[in-house]
């Protein structure tokens, strides 16, 4: 037991990331699989409690905190990290890219095993940096998207930091154990925390980075990205609001519908999947917002299941892109004939994410929807059901165009051996957890002698089948109009230009107003000295003569400039001293 807690898990993942550039591809990736894989047994076996309670900047912090929530997160983060590294190896990712990816995984693991807000936010900020590097590494269009990503996460991180500092001012400790969630003097601190974390989980309106960034980098990088940032956000949201919050439930419902709707309209395969991250995270946020034991367990179950099937989806779509080089549904089709294994894995993942009975998504999604119904949150309930229909619809669309209808000209081979291993092992888990919900319940938090929820009742199964039927009908009706839709603008079409022009206006404003102050000050000084030297001209000018040539001279003598001259500097100095004396003596 001692050995398990000797080193916090993020240490060895980060260590391998640092070694990566020095090693060969084979050895490096093998070590990467090992380091992330080891997190699984460590998370399972480490006894609950706060290990590594130390002082950081003279505050009490806990670097390795194990409870049922962080255990679940560590378990799935480690497992999928290993799968994703394996997939990276098979998809010809460079050592450098996998090294960035491992720093990203390591910091995420550090974040979920944090036992206090300070450590959490520390890793949170590092995650923003490392994931940006992972996106940037691909170059091209990914660089600009990475920039927007970094800026948005910078803002989100600052909000979280502000909330945490405020929380500290109230509570006097950063430790999770010191309070129940985020505590503040008023609702403002809760809003700060929710919005700051909301950037990471993709609240409607704050989500645009998600479909903007995730489709752009290397296909293996997308597999990493789709797992860690948003799920760490869900975990942090639980830490901030362990007892739920009604508004979160509504926001979750809105995300589920909005994400699914936007997804239906997409042609770019990875962009479609990215919108589904928002939609699925909506279910988790709704679960946390509802806040009952079953709902929270459902939310964390959904985190666990979602990571499985969403990474599987990104892997299958990644294989399609890897083999064909095409990103858009317009240019692929009928691939099921050439890539049976990939298509099979896709079908499993699609049925899981859509929540079809017999697959893992059905279990956890059902828990959240049932709790919404049980707590009489009718609006949330309908939103979550509607999101389910949208999910069916868009995955029928994706499967239809990519794997069934039409044909792709040119040779296509199925996934290579290691890719198959990665995909099939995850697909098997999706089915296992679907058929044996108790296996999932065993690792969910809040499970003291089972949940008050039965997965396979007549009602639940019928509900799942109806949603599927609605999806099929919807697809049949919407197929024609959907073909004609081009690229649909999202909210970033508004706020990217807004931010750009806003910043430019700000910079311009500062420059211009400084220049105006500069001009005014110089004008006054110049006026005073001119008046002293030749009062007659000034008097004459005041009367109204010689106005035209005088202004012309002024402008050439004092060109607009940010550089204050020596005279201006002294004038400013005098002005400040005057203001200071006036304030202190006269007031």
């Amino acid at each position: 037991m001692e050995a398990l807690t000797a080193i916090p898990p993020f240490v060895y993942v980060l260590a391998v990331a640092l070694l990566m550039p020095l090693l060969s591809r084979r050895v490096g990736h093998a070590l990467g699989v090992l380091a992330t894989g080891v997190v699984v047994p460590v998370a399972l076996l480490t006894p609950e409690g706060a290990h590594w309670a130390v002082q950081l900047f003279s505050f009490d912090v806990v670097l390795f905190n194990v409870d049922e929530f962080s255990r679940l997160m560590g378990l799935i983060f480690g497992f999928i990290g290993a799968i994703a590294v394996l997939y990276s190896y098979a998809t010809e990712a460079s050592n450098k890219q996998t090294a960035y990816a491992l720093t990203y995984v390591g910091t995420s693991i550090g974040a979920v095993f944090a036992g206090d807000w300070l450590t959490l936010v520390f890793f949170w900020e590092l995650m923003a940096v490392t994931s940006t590097l992972l996106v940037w590494d691909y170059g091209g269009k990914a660089v600009r998207a990475g920039f927007r990503y970094a800026v948005l996460h910078g803002i989100g991180g600052s909000l979280v930091l502000a909330a945490i500092v405020w929380h500290y001012a109230e509570v006097g400790s950063f430790l999770f154990s010191a309070s129940t969630g985020i505590v503040g003097a008023g609702p403002a601190v809760l809003a700060l925390a929710a919005i700051g974390i909301g950037v990471n989980v993709g609240f409607v309106g704050l989500h645009a980075w998600l479909p903007d960034t995730y489709p752009r980098p290397h296909v293996a990088a997308s597999v990493f990205l789709c797992v860690y940032t948003t799920k760490t956000g869900v975990y942090a949201m639980y830490r901030a609001f362990p007892e739920g919050h009604l508004w979160l439930a509504y926001m979750g419902g809105a995300m589920a519908v909005f994400g699914a709707t936007m997804a239906v309209l997409q042609k770019d395969m990875r962009r479609l999947l990215s919108y589904h991250i928002q939609s699925q995270v909506g279910y988790m946020i709704a679960g946390i917002g509802i806040g009952t034991t079953v709902a929270t367990a459902g939310a964390f179950g959904h985190v666990f299941n979602h990571i499985l099937y969403k990474s599987l989806l990104f892997m299958t779509v990644g294989v399609v892109i890897y083999r064909t080089g095409e990103e858009s549904l317009k240019y692929v089709g009928g691939l099921a004939r050439d890539m049976p294994i990939t298509a099979g894995a896709f079908v499993v993942a699609a049925l899981s994410i859509a929540g079809f009975p017999g697959f893992n998504g059905f279990v956890s999604k059902g828990m959240i929807i049932a709790e919404a119904h049980y707590k009489h949150l009718d609006v949330v309930w309908y939103l979550l059901l509607a999101g389910g229909v949208g999910t069916f619809l868009s995955f029928i669309k994706l499967g239809w165009y990519a794997f069934y209808e039409g044909s792709y000209d040119g040779e296509v081979r199925d996934a290579n051996g290691i890719q198959k291993v990665a995909m099939v092992s995850v697909a098997v888990l999706c089915i296992v957890y679907g058929f044996f919900p108790d296996a999932l319940f065993a690792i969910l938090p809040g499970n003291e002698g089972g949940f008050d929820y039965t997965t396979y009742t007549f009602g639940h199964v019928v509900e799942g089948l109806i949603l599927a039927a609605l999806g099929i009908v919807g697809f049949a009706i919407l197929k024609k109009p959907l073909d004609r839709i081009g690229r649909v603008p999202d909210i970033d079409a508004i706020y990217n230009p807004l931010a750009f022009y806003g910043t430019r206006a700000l910079v311009r404003g500062v420059t211009e107003s400084y220049a105006a102050v500069d001009r005014a000050a110089v004008g006054v000084a110049g006026g005073v000295s001119t008046t002293l030297r030749n009062p007659e001209t000034v008097v004459r000018r005041a009367v109204g003569r010689e106005e035209a040539d005088a202004t012309g001279e002024d402008e050439s003598a004092w060109p607009l400039s940010l550089h204050a001259g020596i005279g201006t500097s002294i004038l400013l100095l005098t002005a400040v001293a005057t203001v200071g004396i006036a304030l202190l003596v006269v007031a």
């Binding site: 900020e125 940037w136 500092v165 020596i566 500097s569």
Partner: protein, 504 residues
């Protein structure tokens, strides 16, 4: 140990004389003499600081046996012991850098030691008029050092620095005059007692003038106008030294005067005293960052960044609670290491690739991997990425602002972090994620001009940074990261001093 305090000023003064005497005999002796003097100085400074921190009580001595309040007193407590070591250590580091990077003139080395003497004096003096004297010595040495760059731009920059700096120092002197009229004493400890009962009008006017004078030297917006041009036009070694130390010691003097002369009681009870300081600081933080974002020349950008960072430090002083003042001291030390390192790194990168503007930094990561890495680490530390020292300082100041419930400053600090991110991230992105446009041309022969440009800047045809130059930059980067975690051991050492200063 007490009686050794005057030596902290005397040693560099004697060294200055020695370097000019021996230097006039042979140019080659100037550097070794300067270096030897600095080694002795750093040893003495470290010994003094460790005595202070271990003993927990201040060291004090009356110069020449004239007892205070009439004689001049030198005092070292927990606040200035750290600054003293910083001054000494940074000066040694920059000197190592300057061995190859230049300037190599005897005048430079003499001016260098005079500057160290002035800075050490400002740091340890316990007398207001003596502070003014050392402020002038520091100023004059700094003007002369800026002017050692041998183009016209440096001369104009130095002249502007001289004029604005002198007016600032004069205002400071007038402020001391008012305090003297009000109390009849110049000793800091004595002033603190007597100012409490003196005429509030005189005290208020004196405070306003003293703060304005020191704010010029610290380069707070809008009194910073001398600073970007002086830093940008000076030789790289001089920019590094001045950026790291002169404003830092002035900001320290501002803190010392505020707490040890006017006292926290005056700051909080007197109308608008705190608001005046906070206003200057807040405007500085925002305006400095915005101006830095707009710059295209690297050294000007770094200079404006200093305006913003010293705004933070002064904000901490103005808030005047334990967390904020701790943060100010940490940020003073941390900023000196980071900004000095950045200027030296910028100088070394200019030697490697002729890179002087933001555009020139495209693809530098591949051309000068070690220097670029150090530059990137220092930049990120400046932004405040934990666990670097830049984060710790900001963190304490922000915490202090929130404890004091001065929300505008707390917001300003968070916003400034974003702006700092904007101008440093831009460079990091250029260095690592773009390819240099020069790469294509350098193979066709025009790359040689870039190298020649670098050589011109350092006036002796230096085409590659020496191992010493790179080492100094790398050590600065390591310190920027390494000092952060050390803060928790340093903080308890500071507590007795803060209790006295803040009258807790």
């Amino acid at each position: 140990m007490n009686e050794l305090l005057p030596l902290l000023v005397a040693i560099p003064l004697v060294g200055a004389v020695a370097s000019i005497t021996l230097g006039s005999w042979s140019d080659r002796l100037a550097w070794p003499v300067t270096f030897l003097t600095m080694l002795v100085h750093v040893g003495l400074a470290t010994a003094v600081a460790s005595t202070v921190y271990r003993g927990g009580t201040p060291l004090a001595t009356a110069v020449g046996g004239f007892t205070p309040p009439f004689g001049i007193e030198l005092v070292v407590d927990g606040l200035n012991a750290a600054i003293l070591v910083l001054v000494s250590a940074v000066a040694v580091g920059v000197l190592v850098y300057a061995r190859r990077a230049g300037p190599h003139s005897v005048a430079f080395h003499t001016g260098y030691l005079l500057l160290v003497a002035g800075l050490s004096g400002m740091t340890i003096t316990g007398d207001m008029f003596n502070l003014y004297v050392f402020l002038e010595i520091t100023g004059l040495a700094a003007y002369a050092l800026v002017a050692t760059g041998d183009d016209g731009r440096a001369a104009v920059g130095a002249l502007k620095y001289l004029l604005v700096g002198t007016v600032g120092a004069s205002l400071f002197l007038i402020g001391i005059g008012y305090a003297f009229v009000a109390t009849g004493t110049l000793n800091m400890a004595d002033l603190a007692e007597k100012l409490a009962t003196a005429d509030p009008t005189l005290v208020g006017a004196s405070f306003a003038l003293v703060v304005t004078g020191l704010a010029v030297k610290t380069a707070l917006f809008p009194l910073h106008t001398w600073q970007p041009e002086a830093y940008a036009s000076a030789p790289d070694s001089v920019s590094g030294l001045i950026a790291a130390l002169v404003s830092t010691v002035s900001a320290y003097a501002l803190a010392r005067v505020t707490f040890s002369v006017y006292t926290v009681d005056f700051l909080t009870s007197s109308a608008f005293a705190q608001e005046f300081l906070l206003g200057l600081a807040g405007i500085s933080i925002v305006a400095g960052s915005l101006l830095a974002v707009m710059q295209t020349e690297i050294k000007r950008m770094l200079a404006y960044s200093s305006v913003s960072q010293f705004g933070l430090v002064v904000a901490g002083v103005a808030i005047a609670n334990e967390a904020a003042v701790t943060g100010s001291l940490i940020h003073l030390v941390g900023h000196a290491v980071m900004k000095g390192g950045l200027f030296l790194a910028a100088g070394a990168l200019a030697v490697v690739a002729g890179a002087r503007t933001v555009e020139d930094y495209d693809g530098l990561g591949a051309r000068a991997p070690l220097l670029s890495a150090a530059f990137a680490v220092l930049s990120l530390s400046m932004v405040g990425i934990p666990p670097a020292v830049g984060f710790v300082g900001k963190w304490y100041i922000a915490l202090g602002a929130i404890q004091a419930e001065s929300w505008p400053i707390a917001v300003v600090i968070l916003v400034s972090t974003l702006l700092t991110l904007a101008y440093f991230l831009r460079l990091v992105e250029r260095m690592y994620f773009r390819t240099s446009s020069d790469d294509v041309t350098s193979s066709t022969g025009t790359g040689a001009t870039a190298v020649a440009d670098g050589g011109d800047d350092t006036d002796d045809g230096l085409t590659r940074p020496s191992a010493g130059m790179v080492a100094v930059v790398v050590v600065a980067a390591l310190l920027a990261v390494g000092l952060g975690p050390l803060v928790s051991t340093f903080e308890p050492l500071l507590e007795p001093t803060l209790e006295t200063l803040l009258q807790l």
